[in-house]
Symmetry: D2
Subunit: 327 residues, 4 copies
């Protein structure tokens, strides 16, 4: 049985801790600057509130979950690597590519396994779509269309430390595009606007974006993003190949369809990531524990986290310069 | 925390035991004539293998789950009632109405709460449909159409002890019809055929049926049943009211849609009840524990189990006599 | 080119006259007791207003369309047959089976071709469903579920001369059931209620019904009817076979799907038969002209019109006596 | 009644001629270099085969339809304008912007009305989507996603005279984007690949493309194109606004859904533009005749034809230079 220390006892931390327990893991240490949150989560899972030092020094601990604030990720990755722990790190590793590279070096030097929390790779719909691509259902992939729209914008205080739309939100879509394209993008074009909330613009960020990626062999992906979707979290992927098309759509709470004097209607998509990706978070934890236990490669590793950031940085540059950025 | 004794360690028993653990219950005793199954389930959940006597004598046990073979249900219900335990009983209570009445008397005399395992009442789709009826979304209910088709027939050995299609399979649909009609049926018409497996006919049963129910105010329900659906478990409910229509459809494993040179296709419905009603089984256990704990009425009780059997018996008589049976 | 005389210049007559013109027919005579309607339709299509006698005496006329009020159909069929004209007769031929038999004799004696206007046989969706049954897509047919609901009830004055729900409305569904079952029903069960409009009940009719039909080999069909559907004309057919299921659904005016803060919605079904069966009426006329021209059998003939009425009469008796009527 | 001369008796010419007849127009002259085609179409519609001179000299002719090969459009537009005829011109007006401007000048000088054949503006689904935008159903438009994929590539001989993908195929999508955005794009980014047919690449063209457009206020549109879709013509538009989302999907031949041991499937989209846009072509002709007759503005005029070409030219430049082209 794999024993864990977890950094971060917030909303996403609570999810990982619960999944860990349900997946045959054992949580020993919770570390969080916010003591009451740490205490509550520790009690719920029979863990103890610890310091980073104590948690990493515990020889029983085989793995860490890094679900604290983004600015702490890199430091914790490096320290966990040096302590020889397997690492489950929420995205992004860091907002600075240089810092990410330091993490990758530390992880490589220590020879520890690391998973980066691109939850969508574990979503049953996207995973089934990917499985069919692999099975040849649509022949050679040619174009990918990714729709990724949040139900509503976060507070501007969050926007300011988020690294901007491309590094904070689109980063998931960059990873999805890489996964679905089956090839590395070598050209990036991006543009964006401030259409949703003027305060986001005032903070120097955009809230609406469109991106086009292209691989060496000419495959293309396009991403459309918005910080607002009145009907809920809109997360769809469409892949076109030489033999056909695959679409993974949104999930709803129930299959109920209502027909009345107005229209024929079904439920809105599940509201946001906690609902939509509940199954994905669980599958992600299972995959992490499975890889650590068996010593098999992580399904999505540190290099994937780095590459998505490379694309986000290229998107920023493309938007600023109004041109394609070649990688 | 509610402590349980469970009778039956088979397929459905394993589900209830797992849900119980996940819903804050504690399993203390497992009773099963098949020792290895009892042993395995007991080990998985930290329970002990017991006899019926020992299990019911344990004062720590507040509730029992009866998930053993149908012919043992009534005896266990009566004994559990006398022992003062809350009762979760898989459907049917018994195939004989007289025996069911003995159970109801025992339960009433003991004043213990009892839930009958009509899992579909806890299915999120049917529950949402019912919630909308209650909310007035379609006005007064007028007609109900229930589609209920198994992916494939059970072995004839099972058919022989099942009580026949109406008592074994349609019984769920009778309960669903009562729930959706919001009124008690007073007229029953049923007919059936042997179209799927000649051995079922040779065993004196049917494998395909159509039923029409009518309430005193003139509301109607129709049920179509088959022991075979090449595309998987087909479980749909359609309710028509004065202001509109509600449909609850099948669930699929993924939202992936494939378009190719042949067609545009989606996945088949989830294969059978274990998959389709996984969420329902869990919600059912939660509701049971909640009702026992709070002393609130069971959402579906012994009288509901009885009434569904009354309808099944009436259906048998209707089919035999080619006429409407009035209740 | 086939030349026509048409009886009836009302709503459905206008449709047939227009289709006839678009299908290579030529309308010569319009007969209607309501002179202005006859005049208007005659002018629109370059025809002349005539009497029945004159129209039937015209040797140029090869075919008649009977789209006048129901009580005139039988007389016109017999006179047209005697005049040697091919006959396109709106359903029903007559409300009396004896009278229908007189028509069939006259048609047979004259050796003229006759099509009965069961428009649904020509609906592209139902026709495609039937084509797939024939192609073996779902193996042997086992059960048919027909949903047939009008958007709103007709005036009671119409109800009073309609022959009642089974002969007026369900008659289409009886024909559909026969077509989809691929076998003749030998057992009929029907029940009904007055749920929509008390005046319909006061007029001695029902407005809501459920029917079950069974063939000799045990195939079954169920029909649900209502004179009211708040969301528009609901016309669906579902056929279950040994290898799968086919469903033909409703048609909508546009494919537009709207997602907003309330729901994800699509348009209501096309409002009523004029909209829903517009394509069917045209295909029906093409098939009639084609059969007359080539001398090939009518796709749906006088015997089909008779058999649907036999089922309607049996349904009435079944409802009155609360039992299965065997044919 | 409006009398017409038509240039071009090919596939699209035959459609226009038939629609014209059904919309209350009268075809007098057919002009085509291919005499047998001209003869056949003339006979079908009671017109005469003429020369351009004779057709334009006929004072009875109030309008012309230009459905001949692209390289003849501009010359015919200018001559028809000088002859004072109303002009229905298939897209594109010409592949050269300079030449298009000559046409616009001639049309303006003559004061004749002109419709450019952007058929999709008349598609009932896209028109309904547009109607809802106008009605405020989704608030302010923010992003548009256009999917436009042909079932298969045309012969390379056609590619060579087509003006390239952007001018030949995407031009429709540029017009659609302008229409849906409700603002003029001022930035164009485009990229493309040769993925479908190497001969298209050898001919100097692309067969797969992605485009991003942006308006002054920051609204964005993205277009994905391919010359191949194994499942048929894929023509969808998705518009996101501040209050919701509208999608117009593909049309199918029937609503039949089949469930079997493999999957649940529906028909492929209608095969190509002749099938998909049949209703649009008819509505387009009605709109043209209506505008000419009433003297009301054309729903899509010469300036729209010009602007779509401006965007196509900008796309070509953007792809060549790897940068945003600002208009």
């Amino acid at each position: 049985m794999l024993h864990f220390a977890q950094f971060g006892a917030g909303r996403i931390g609570a999810i990982h801790a619960a999944n860990l327990a349900g997946c045959g893991g054992r949580l020993r240490h919770i570390v969080d600057v916010h003591a009451p949150a740490a205490q509550a989560l520790a009690e719920r899972h029979g863990a103890q509130v610890s310091t980073t030092e104590a948690a990493l020094a515990d020889p029983e601990v085989g793995a860490v979950i890094i679900a604290s604030s983004t600015d702490t990720h890199a430091d914790l990755v490096i320290r966990a690597a040096k302590a020889g722990k397997a690492i489950f790190c929420e995205k992004p590793i860091d907002l600075s590519l240089a810092r990410v590279d330091e993490c990758l070096e530390a992880v490589q030097a220590a020879g520890v396994p690391m998973l980066v929390g691109f939850n969508r790779r574990f979503d049953p719909d996207f995973a089934e779509l990917q499985r069919r691509i692999q099975a040849g259902a649509i022949g050679a992939v040619e174009q990918v269309v990714i729709t990724s729209r949040d139900p509503g914008p976060p507070p501007v205080s969050y926007i300011k430390v988020s690294g901007g739309l491309f590094r904070d939100m689109t980063i998931h879509d960059f990873d999805m595009a890489r996964w679905m394209l089956g090839e590395e993008p070598v050209e990036v074009f991006a543009t964006g606007s401030n259409l949703v909330d003027p305060e986001i613009g005032a903070a120097g960020d955009i809230d609406s974006a469109m991106v086009v990626l292209k691989t060496k062999s000419g495959r293309m992906a396009t991403i459309n993003n918005s910080r607002r979707a009145a009907y809920g979290y809109d997360q769809r992927v469409e892949v076109h190949g030489s033999l056909g098309r695959l679409i993974a759509g949104n999930r709803v709470g129930s299959t109920v369809e209502q027909a009345d004097a107005q229209a024929v209607s079904t439920e809105k998509p599940l509201h946001f990531f906690l609902e939509r990706y509940a199954l994905a978070y669980r599958a992600e934890m299972l995959a992490f524990i499975d890889s650590v236990t068996k010593g098999s490669p992580m399904p999505v590793g540190a290099a994937d986290g780095r590459q998505a950031l490379v694309l986000a940085d290229a998107a920023l540059r493309s938007m600023a310069e109004g041109r394609v950025v070649r990688l």
